[in-house]
Amino acid sequence: MIKDIWSVFIDRKEFFADLLFEHLEISLISILIAILFGGLVGIFISEFQKTAKPTLGVINFLYTIPSISMLGFLIPFSGVGNATAIIALTVYALLPMVRNTNTGIANVDPAILEAAKGMGSTKIQILFKIKLPLAMPVIMSGIRNMVTMTIALAGIASFIGAGGLGVAIYRGITTNNAAMTMVGSLLIALLALVMDFVLGFIEKRMNKRSVKAKKANRIMAAISVVLCLGIAGGIFINTQQKDTLHIATKPMTEQYVLGEMLDILIEQDTDLNVELTQGVGGGTSNIQPAMESGEFDLYPEYTGTGWNMVLKHDGLYTEDLFRELESGYRDSYNMQWIGMYGFNNTYGLAVRREIAEQYNLKTYSDLKSAASSLTFGAEYDFFERDDGYDALCDTYGFKFGKTIDMDIGLKYQAINQGKIDVMVIFTTDGQLSASDVVVLEDDKQFYPSYICGNVIRAEVLEKYPELKTVFEKLDGLITNSDMAEINYSVETENKEPRDVAEDFLRSHSLLQ
């Protein structure tokens, strides 16, 4: 395991270095804003103690909102991406900052304040010469807590399409790459430790009170402020490119690969620059609003999902409804379906090959005669769901001899070992390509259809008509078994989505 982690890290040094830098950037911006804004609020409520309780109450309340919901609330206002992440991180960082500033100032000995006042200091002078310096140790310890917390919390920012090391963690989880998840987590921990060490050093320096040390402190402070601003500023410079196509993908292995394909082909065939936001947490429910607000220009989607989740129809989607789906998207959102890849990622039934041959099974209906002597396996919840086992049996009028509950991760093993004969699968499961099974045809359309295509904003397509030729190349390019193989390469063989995408395009002579 340690070897895996190390080799992943070495192989993808630059990838991780970029993420690390981005992580630092997002955290630092949030930290700086929180220090400034939180400090001001802390000072304000310490001067006007009547406002302290309600203010702290509100901030305390914000602090208790789970981070995932906080990000969810923010998306409608600030969209997906770094801005939302920074806002959320800043909100969480405010509490320790405001509370410690207030406590630090409120705890300054009133006799000292009276002395300063009696000597003719103005309020401002008392604040800067007396209160803040005396409150500094308490404020500093607040900052220290807040910094480690922010760096750790920034790991979830990738959930809403922001950058940082969370990207590696999330990608590792969705593409079954534990080593990548570990590297991401370890780097976050390391970053937090380093920052804490740096702050500890600063704290120590601040306690040194000799004249010489103070001079050195001032120089070091100036340098670090410039550095921080430089790092934080990077984010704004980065995002100022023109004619960039913003592509999002959902957190699924196949979407990571599709994203890379789009990136490669569009940059190769047009002058457009692609900015790819991979694995946006929450998938459609977060990407669709961002498409509506124009933050994203296109993303790969499945017809059935679009029908139920975006157009909010209740019924079962079949491809007969595609025209209605298209016009629904055009009329309600001014978006368009284009570049239909060809594969259908839906539920399916897979049968061990020898069984399929023995009973000559091709469609679900064929199972009718054989079912009573076969063993059926599925996840626990399949037997409970309304559209699960019972509904399936009713539609096709069969009943299996035996049923077994099993974990998703184990069911391919079980069918390969002959413990089960029939099981529920996703039609693009990576494991399918490595298992000796036959996927049967859903001839009565029990499951909705989830054909994969791209949803693009119509404006964007009008503005860059050259994109059409790219999408033409994608039409019908990928079959179910192609996609299963692609998933297998990434999830089981631990290949990089980018490499897999390139290989696939090359083998179809789409690379120049």
């Binding site: 000995d109 006799a111 000292i112 002395a115 006042k117 009696g118 003719g120 103005t122 002078q125």
Partner: protein, 271 residues
Amino acid sequence: MKTAIEFKDIKKSYDDKVVMEKFNLSVSKGEFVTIIGSSGCGKTTALKMVNGLIQPTSGDIFVNGENFRNKNQTQLRRNIGYAIQGSVLFPHMTVEQNISYVPNLLNKRDKEKTKNAVLKWMKIVGLSEDLKHRYPSELSGGQQQRVGIARALAASPDILLMDEPFGAVDEITRGQLQIELKRIHKQTGITILFVTHDISEALKLGTKVLVMDKGKIEQYATPSELLQNPATEFVKELVKKERRTCYLPEEQLFTCKFSGTVGERNSHDTK
């Protein structure tokens, strides 16, 4: 003579508790007023009214003829030196920074002048120069008090308020400081209000002594007047011992039958 500080019909109460009433006092410019009275009688309260840290419930305070209420209090305070009861130094500042606190509020530019002033005042209050970069926590109680005094004097104020400034210094240093303060007073003509618990210090330093009890003035007079004509029983009790202390030259000391040397001589006689 011009009036430096005037209390006019001052009343001060906390909630229902009256701590000061019908307080009228006028202090001439250049006066060295020592204030004495039992603990909790309102000495600190009176002092803090002069620099506006405590507002009277009713009545007016005039400083250099102007009503304190109507003035920019911050500006006014900078001309009033304030040596606080228990010294209260700024713990995050060095001795030098503490002493130069008020000069720095006044003029930020002339650093050289401030530096020299600090050294001058440190010398006057008897602090050796190498304490300059120490922090208050690194000083003895007496040293802290002297820093507090130097800080009050550093901006050369017109009025100096001192609340038991010599409480924590030893007898010998106290004697030196008393002499220094007396000298400063003579040289600069500064008006001083000086709170003390020690009647002999009050009589020795003051050009006028203010005796207070329970928020009221018992007597405001010169030390000799106080000794000769104590106005009330309270004052009489207070100065009783002092009236019987002899300040005769050394060689005549034993001729006074109230002097401490008497016992010695008597025992000599019996031999």
